[in-house]
């Protein structure tokens, strides 16, 4: 605290102001700035084909932002190796611009032999960190480094109702330390509510046993408030979601849903599925936190590892970098 002439100390340690200074306008200033610059958000969806990844992303951002809408035909053949396809869109809401990049991974888990199908994904994530690191390390840096790092990876779990598949645990184990993983149970309308609860319990237990730290990670909770919020969320994860981009009329309202012969599954109805919870969590409360954790923790881990390696970053001036880490 810098003691101001107009302040006086009180016992709790904070200074009470004797007049209005206007410090709180900084929030408004920040807001204006952010609105002007806009921000980037990169989301990756992983899961084998047919789990509704593209549909869910479209539903989340209420627009056709997925690869599927960008001209992918319905009967496109399953690729032989895992491909990484990134599609970017700029969406705007309330004056705030967001450059949303959806990274899709077709071919994941679809082959007969799926050994190492997580490698292309791991490589892509590390490449984005590398790009950012290179920009950061430059002598003349850009004012705003373009951020292509993956902020969040949504992993789609197949709704078998029994256990996690071997591929799921393998993937999450390997990638939970380089990116924020949010597991979701796809196509939740396959299961009744009881089945869903049982399945969730089992999945959570398995994730715990395998030591997989999904986002929000317990170790990064900053204070008690965060902890209690995040604990509630962790209890409810993995969210069982249903996606849809079609609208139907229910009780006079137009809702997003899936129409089956025995009823309409409402996507945003919390009694039907947990999509609304996922959306609130992902976008309305933890979007900035996801970016921060990616930048402060995952990226820093990568950077430290990289700079500690032999050779450093500039192989040309190898004699310098062998002693000093830049």
């Amino acid at each position: 605290h810098s003691p101001l002439v107009f302040s006086s100390h009180n016992s709790s340690g904070g200074s009470t102001l004797l007049g209005y200074i206007g410090i709180d306008t900084i929030i408004e200033q920040m807001r204006k700035k952010t609105m002007k610059t806009g921000f980037d958000f990169n989301i990756m969806v992983v899961g084998h084909s047919g789990l509704g990844k593209s549909t869910l992303v479209n539903t989340l951002f209420k627009s056709h932002v997925s690869r599927k809408s960008a001209g992918w035909a319905r009967d496109e053949k399953i690729p032989k190796t895992v491909e990484i396809k990134a599609v970017s869109h700029v969406i705007e809401e309330g004056g705030v611009k967001m450059k949303l990049t959806v990274v899709d991974t077709p071919g994941f888990g679809d082959q007969i032999n799926n050994d190492n199908c997580w490698e292309p994904i791991s490589k892509y994530i590390n490449e984005q960190y590398e790009k950012f690191l290179k920009e950061e390390v430059n002598i003349t840096r850009k004012k705003r480094i373009p951020d292509t790092r993956v902020h969040c990876c949504i992993y789609f779990i197949s709704p078998t109702g029994h256990f996690l598949r071997q591929l799921d645990t393998e993937f999450m184990k390997r990638l939970s330390h380089s990116v924020n993983i949010i597991p979701v149970i796809a196509k939740a309308d396959t299961m009744t509510l009881e089945e869903r609860q049982e399945f969730k319990q089992r999945v959570r237990k398995e994730l715990e046993v395998s030591g997989i730290e999904f986002y929000p990670q317990k170790e990064f909770d900053e204070d008690m408030e965060d902890k209690s919020d995040n604990d509630k969320i962790r209890e409810a994860m993995p969210f069982a979601v249903v996606g849809s981009d079609k609208e139907y009329q229910v009780n006079g309202k137009r809702v997003l849903g899936r129409k089956t012969a025995w009823g309409i599954v409402e996507v945003e109805n919390p009694n039907h599925c947990e999509f609304a919870q996922l959306r609130d969590f992902l976008i309305r409360s933890h979007l900035q936190d996801l970016k921060e954790v990616t930048h402060n923790i995952h990226y820093e881990t990568y950077r430290a590892k990289r700079l500690n390696e032999n050779g450093g970053l500039h192989p040309i001036s190898s004699s310098d970098t062998q002693e000093s880490n830049l």
Binding site: Q111, P159, T160, Q166, K187, T190, G263
Partner: protein, 435 residues
């Protein structure tokens, strides 16, 4: 390789050759079907059903729903509840009775199929199982005492496709390609309540397209002479692959008790034709086509296995008509084969004879060589003998010469002596006179 079409053609050709005669009274063999029926009922029936698919696709639930029993209950959880590292093949037998008819139902489950990260060859245990059952039947058929021939062959394989909504996975295609000529494969779309009706239609079309693309031969319903039946069959064919939902939980809907799944937005009824194709599957599998499945297994898949197995065992020279009978080979083909065999036999004999000849020639040569060597040896020996004798002779001669020389020397000395003696006598004589 036989298939259903060729068997039908053969049947037709046999029937055409008989003339139909009219009866002049009631004979009574119209009762024959009843006799067959009564005998079969006494014997009881056997049926083996195999279910294949990744875990969590509702296979156990579907089996329970189909046969209205709890084959897999809470106390004995289905194989998918237990985590498996490799593909196992497990069978469970159940005896079901209904209306006096006994059915020994064997359910073969394949837990662990498609669950690992690397699923290459996960179909191999399944193929091995089917082949081993066919082999058991083949051995039982070939025995001398054939009193009891239990039929454990797999009559039908239900393959569960995950309801992705896109198409077949590489694993699905690979599996069906390898099993379509060993067993009747019926593909099903599992957990069909995941899909909306439009998605389901698109998915079915996509699957059928891929099945045709890869030339997979799934089980085909036979055409009957009855037109009504044919219409039904055509309707069923349009619905393939069948989209099923399984459940044994009874829920009340509009006052009616139905089996279904309760969701917050409604109840998906298992036996409702609008909701899923479960009733179609059940009727087809149990009520109308069970016998046909067994027949096709026996006449087509088993015969294919048998001919392949026995053709591999028989070698040249054995009577080939034992293996298949007259059904498969046309006379020309048989002649061709016999000719080929004969030519091969001749070739073999020729080769053998040549071999023998070669051997004999070698022997003779060897013998000659031996005798030559012998002669050589003897010649040497004789030469040596000769030389020895020659040497001896030389020696003797030398000795003789020596002796001769000695004797001559002695003779000369004697001569000299004689001369000397005579000279002295002469001298003495002269001396004597002088005096």
């Amino acid at each position: 390789i036989l298939d259903r079409a060729s068997i039908n053609r053969m049947r037709v050709s046999v029937c055409v050759s008989l003339k139909q005669r009219n009866l002049e009274g009631y004979v009574g063999f119209a009762n024959l079907p009843n006799q067959v029926y009564r005998k079969s009922v006494k014997r009881g029936f056997e049926f083996t059903l195999m279910v294949v698919g990744e875990s969590g696709l509702g296979k156990s639930t579907l089996i329970n729903s189909l046969f209205l029993t709890d084959l897999y209950s809470k106390d004995y959880p289905g194989p998918s509840q237990r985590i498996k590292k490799t593909v196992q093949v497990e069978q469970s037998k159940v005896l079901i009775k209904e209306g006096g008819v006994q059915l020994t139902l064997t359910i073969v489950d394949t837990p662990g199929f498609g669950d690992a990260v690397d699923n290459s060859n996960c179909w191999q245990p399944v193929i091995n199982y089917i082949d081993s059952k066919c082999e058991d039947f083949l051995n039982a058929e070939s025995r001398v005492n054939r009193r009891s021939m239990p039929d454990n062959r797999v009559h039908c394989c239900l393959y569960f496709i995950a309801p992705s909504g896109h198409g077949l996975k590489p694993l699905d295609i690979e599996f069906m390609k390898r099993l379509h000529d060993k067993v009747n494969v019926i593909p099903l779309i599992a957990k069909a309540d995941t899909l909306t009706p439009e998605e389901c239609q698109l998915f079915k079309k996509q699957i059928m397209k891929e099945i045709q693309e890869h030339k997979i031969k799934i089980y085909e319903f036979p055409d009957t002479e009855d037109d009504d039946d044919n219409k039904l069959i055509r309707k069923i064919k349009e619905k393939m692959p069948l989209a099923v939902v399984g459940s044994n939980v009874v829920i009340e809907v509009n006052g009616k008790k139905v089996r279904g799944r309760q969701y917050p937005w409604g109840v998906a009824e298992v036996e409702n034709g609008e909701h899923c194709d479960f009733t179609v599957l059940r009727n087809m599998l149990i009520r109308t086509h069970m016998q046909d499945l067994k027949d096709v297994t026996n006449n087509v898949h088993y015969e294919n296995y048998r001919s392949k197995k026995l053709a591999a065992v028989t070698c040249n020279g054995v009577d080939t008509s034992k293996t298949k009978g007259q059904l498969t080979k046309s006379p020309l083909a048989q002649m061709e084969e016999e000719r080929r065999e004969h030519v091969m036999k001749m070739k073999k004999m020729e080769a053998e004879m040549e071999q023998v000849f070669e051997m004999k020639v070698k022997e003779k040569k060897q013998k000659l060589k031996d005798s030559e060597a012998e002669l050589e040896r003897r010649h040497e020996q004789m030469k040596r003998n000769l030389e020895a004798q020659y040497k001896e002779l030389e020696e003797k001669r030398r000795v003789f010469e020596e002796e001769k020389a000695n004797w001559e020397a002695q003779q000369r000395i004697l001569e000299q002596q004689k001369l000397d003696a005579s000279k002295t006598m002469e001298k003495n004589k002269k001396k004597g006179k002088i005096f």
